[in-house]
C-alpha cells in the first residue's frame, strides 16, 4: 500500500512536469525507438495524471505512477504508431524532437527493444532512469526478486545480442550498481 504524504508536502503537477519531462522522454525514446512518439507518449502520461491528480497527487511518489504509465505505453507498437500519428499531425508546429542517437547507441537500444516487454522496461528504468531495484519494483508493481530476475535475464540476452562481455564478477543473482551507487 502506498503511503500518503502530508498534503503540505505534495508536489504539484507543474513541478513534476518541469522536473521529469525530459527524463521521461528519454525513457520513452529508448523503449519506443521513436523520437517523434516519445514526447507524445509523455504528454499523454501527464494528461492522464492531470485528469486523476486528486488521487495521484496524494501518492508518496507520483513520478513512479508517471514512469509506469510511460514505460507501459512505450512498448506497444500500436501505441507508438498512434503517438507518431499524433506527432505527425502536429508537424506544422515544428516541435523539437530528441536528438538522434549515434548508431552504436541506437544498436544497443534496438537490442533492448527486442527483449521481452518486462525485461526491456526493467533495463530502461535501471540504466536510463538510474532506479535501484526496489524502486523499479515499486514502479512496475512487482516483487524485487522479479525485477532482479528480469534484469539478470535481460543482461544475459543483451550481452549475447551485442556480442559484449558481462563484467567478470557477474553471477546469477548479480545486479550492477546504478550510476548513483557508483558515484557514491
Amino acid at each position: 500500500m502506498t503511503q500518503r504524504a502530508p498534503s503540505a508536502q505534495r508536489v504539484t503537477l507543474e513541478e513534476l512536469y518541469r522536473r521529469e519531462f525530459s527524463q521521461l522522454v528519454s525513457l520513452a525514446h529508448g523503449l519506443s525507438g521513436s523520437r517523434s512518439a516519445a514526447e507524445e507518449l509523455v504528454q499523454e502520461a501527464f494528461l492522464a495524471a492531470h485528469r486523476r491528480w486528486e488521487t495521484i497527487g496524494r501518492y508518496d511518489d507520483p513520478s513512479a505512477w508517471l514512469r509506469r504509465v510511460v514505460v507501459n505505453r512505450s512498448v506497444g507498437v500500436i501505441r507508438r504508431r498512434v503517438a507518431e500519428g499524433m506527432a505527425l499531425t502536429r508537424l506544422g508546429s515544428r516541435r523539437v524532437l530528441p536528438d538522434a542517437l549515434p548508431d552504436s547507441d541506437e544498436r544497443v537500444w534496438q537490442a533492448v527493444r527486442n527483449l521481452p516487454r518486462r525485461q526491456a522496461q526493467v533495463v530502461a528504468l535501471f540504466y536510463v532512469d538510474d532506479q535501484p531495484v526496489h524502486e523499479i519494483a515499486g514502479i512496475l508493481q512487482c516483487a524485487e526478486g522479479t525485477v532482479k530476475a528480469h534484469l539478470h535475464q535481460a543482461r544475459q540476452s543483451l550481452a549475447q545480442a551485442l556480442g559484449t562481455a558481462l563484467p567478470p564478477d557477474d553471477v546469477s543473482d548479480y545486479c550492477p550498481p546504478t550510476h548513483q551507487e557508483v558515484e557514491r
Partner: protein
C-alpha cells in the same frame, strides 16, 4: 578496448538522456488534448473508451429501418453483424477529412506494378511518396535503419520489422523541403536505391521514366496528389483528403486483436493504392464482390469495391480465419439509428470525463495496480492488473530457460492459463466476476493467492505445478453460492506485446 555490458549500457543511456536534455517544457502540463487530426484522435478515443468501459450499442439485425450513408457518392457505413468475440465493443469513426487542420501531412502517392496481371504486384511493386513534410520521424523505431547516399544527399534506408504498412523504404530530402520516399514490399535495398537514382525530380515533381537495370519492369498503376499521410499511420492505407470515409471497430488494449472496417469514397486508382498499402494481392471474394486479401505477421486485410466509387476494407489482427469470415460475411450498412448510437469520436472533454469517472472516482483505493507474485519449483511468477491500461498480465520467469513467457489479456478475463517453456508448470490467473470472492473448487481455492483490485474486484492466481489445467473454473460468493462458471482460456506467450516487434527474447 572492448566495453563490458554495463559500460556499454551506461554509455547508451547517457546518450539517450543527452538527446532529450533540451526538451524542457516551456508551458504548463497539458490539461486537455490539443486538436488533432480526426484519424489520430479516433484511435486515442478507442483506447479511452476501452479504459472507460462505456457501454455501447450491441449491433443487431433488428433495426434496419434506414440505411446510413454519407454522400458523394453514397458511402455506406458498414458495420459487422457478427462482431468478433474478445474485442471491446465497436466504436464508429467519421472521417470528415475537411476538418483536418493544415498541420497534417499531405502526400502524393504513385504505385507501380504490372498492369493486367492477376496480381499486379507479383513481379515487383513500388510506391513513390512525396511530401512537403519530413516523413522520416514516422519511420523511426520501425526496424533496421541506416543512412545511405541517394541522389547526392544523405537518405534513410529502413527495413521495417514491426508490421508497418511500408516494409522497406528509402527516404531523403530533395530541394526546398520536399521529401521523397521510395518503398516496396518486394524490392531489396539495392533495387530501391537504383530506383531512387533513376527518378527524375524537377520542380517538386517526381517521375520514374523507366525501371533501372536489375529492377523488374514496373508501370505506373495509380497516382494521386491529395492523400493524407497521417491516416496511413493509424488507419491503414492513406485516404484522399477529399474522400468521405468511415471506420467501425476496435482493438484489445494489448493490441493483439483488432477488427476495423473502413468504407470510403475512392476510384480505381485509390483501390490500387489501398491494395498496395494493405498488401492485399491475393484474389478472393467478399459478399459477392471481387476482393483481394493480404496477410502479414498475424494481420489480415481485405480490400474490395463495395459499389462504384466506394472502396471497402477490413483491417484486422489476430483473428482466426473463421472469425474473420463470419465478420466479413455479416457486414451490412448501418441504419441511421445504429450509427447514431455507436460511440463516435467525441474528441476531448466528454470522453475524458467519462474515463475519469470509470477509472477513478471513489472506488479507486490507492493505486491503479493490483499484483500478485510468488515462487514455484523452478522460477518466479507474477500477475498484475492495471486499471489505467485496463489489462491483466501474467508472467513466468523460469530459472533455467532463456524464455520468460508473458501475456496480457483484457482486464475482464476471468480465467487464463499461461504455460512455462517446459510445459509442466501452469499459471492460472484472472479477475473474478462481480460478487465472487473465491474459486469454487476447494483445492484451487486453497492454492490460490488473491488480492483486491483497485476497482473492488478480486484478482487471483494459482500455480499448477505438474497438474493439468482445468477446462472451466467456478467462482463463488461469500455464501459459497456459485456466481459464475467460465471456461479457461489458454493464452499464448506470443500475446506479449514485444512479439509485435518480432522479438522472442
Amino acid at each position: 578496448m572492448t566495453m563490458d555490458l554495463d559500460t556499454q549500457m551506461r554509455v547508451a543511456s547517457h546518450s539517450l538522456r543527452r538527446a532529450s536534455r533540451g526538451l524542457t517544457p516551456t508551458g504548463p502540463p497539458p490539461t486537455r488534448r490539443p486538436p488533432l487530426a480526426v484519424a489520430g484522435m479516433a484511435v486515442v478515443v478507442t483506447l479511452l473508451l476501452a479504459v472507460a468501459g462505456i457501454a455501447v450499442l450491441r449491433l443487431t439485425d433488428d433495426d434496419r429501418s434506414r440505411v446510413s450513408t454519407g454522400t458523394r457518392p453514397d458511402v455506406p457505413r458498414l458495420i459487422p453483424g457478427a462482431y468478433p468475440e474478445g474485442l471491446p465493443d465497436p466504436m464508429a469513426i467519421d472521417l470528415p477529412y475537411a476538418l483536418l487542420s493544415s498541420d497534417n501531412v499531405p502526400a502524393s502517392i504513385a504505385v507501380y506494378g504490372e498492369s493486367g496481371a492477376d496480381n499486379p504486384f507479383g513481379a515487383g511493386d513500388l510506391a513513390v511518396i512525396t511530401s512537403d513534410d519530413d516523413m522520416r520521424p514516422y519511420l523511426e523505431g520501425s526496424g533496421n535503419q541506416r543512412t545511405v547516399a541517394v541522389q547526392g544527399v544523405e537518405g534513410l534506408s529502413t527495413d521495417a520489422t514491426d508490421g508497418s504498412a511500408i516494409d522497406r523504404s528509402v527516404t531523403w530530402e530533395v530541394a526546398d523541403g520536399r521529401h521523397v520516399m521510395v518503398a516496396s514490399h518486394s524490392l531489396d535495398e539495392d533495387q530501391l536505391l537504383a530506383v531512387a537514382e533513376a527518378l527524375t525530380i524537377a520542380d517538386g515533381d517526381v517521375t520514374l521514366d523507366a525501371a533501372p537495370p536489375g529492377v523488374p519492369v514496373l508501370e505506373q498503376l495509380a497516382a494521386g496528389d491529395d492523400y493524407l499521410l497521417a491516416s496511413l499511420v493509424v488507419a491503414g492505407p492513406p485516404v484522399r483528403r477529399s474522400a468521405e470515409a468511415f471506420m467501425v471497430g476496435n482493438e484489445t488494449v494489448d493490441y493483439d486483436k483488432s477488427f476495423f472496417v473502413v468504407t470510403l469514397a475512392g476510384d480505381a486508382s485509390d483501390l490500387i493504392v489501398d491494395r498496395w498499402f494493405t498488401s492485399a494481392d491475393t484474389p478472393t471474394e467478399v459478399r459477392g464482390h471481387p476482393a483481394w486479401a493480404g496477410t502479414d505477421e498475424g494481420s489480415q486485410s481485405l480490400v474490395w469495391e463495395e459499389s462504384p466509387g466506394v472502396i471497402a476494407m477490413v483491417l484486422t489482427n489476430g483473428l482466426t480465419d473463421a472469425e474473420l469470415q463470419a465478420a466479413v460475411d455479416s457486414l451490412r450498412p448501418a441504419t441511421d439509428d445504429e450509427w447514431d448510437q455507436l460511440p463516435h469520436e467525441p474528441v476531448d472533454a466528454s470522453v475524458g470525463d467519462a474515463g475519469d469517472d470509470a477509472a477513478g472516482g471513489e472506488d479507486l483505493v490507492d493505486e491503479d495496480v493490483a499484483s500478485l507474485a510468488g515462487e514455484y519449483s523452478s522460477g518466479l511468477w507474477d500477475v498484475s492488473y492495471d486499471l489505467v491500461l485496463n489489462e491483466l498480465c501474467g508472467g513466468l520467469i523460469p530459472n533455467a530457460a532463456d524464455d520468460a513467457p508473458y501475456a496480457c489479456v483484457g482486464s475482464d478475463e476471468p480465467a487464463s492459463v499461461l504455460a512455462d517453456p517446459g510445459g509442466t508448470m501452469l499459471l492460472l490467473f484472472g479477475v473474478m466476476p462481480d460478487g465472487a470472492v473465491r474459486l469454487g473448487d476447494p483445492a484451487l481455492a486453497e492454492a490460490a493467492q488473491v488480492t483486491n483490485t483497485p476497482d473492488g474486484r478480486v484478482l487471483y492466481a494459482v500455480v499448477l505445478d505438474g497438474q493439468p489445467a482445468p477446462t472451466q473454473v467456478a467462482f463463488v460468493d461469500p455464501q459459497d453460492q456459485t456466481v459464475a462458471t467460465t471456461p479457461v482460456t489458454t493464452v499464448d506467450a506470443g500475446t506479449d506485446i514485444t512479439a509485435e516487434g518480432g522479438a522472442d527474447g
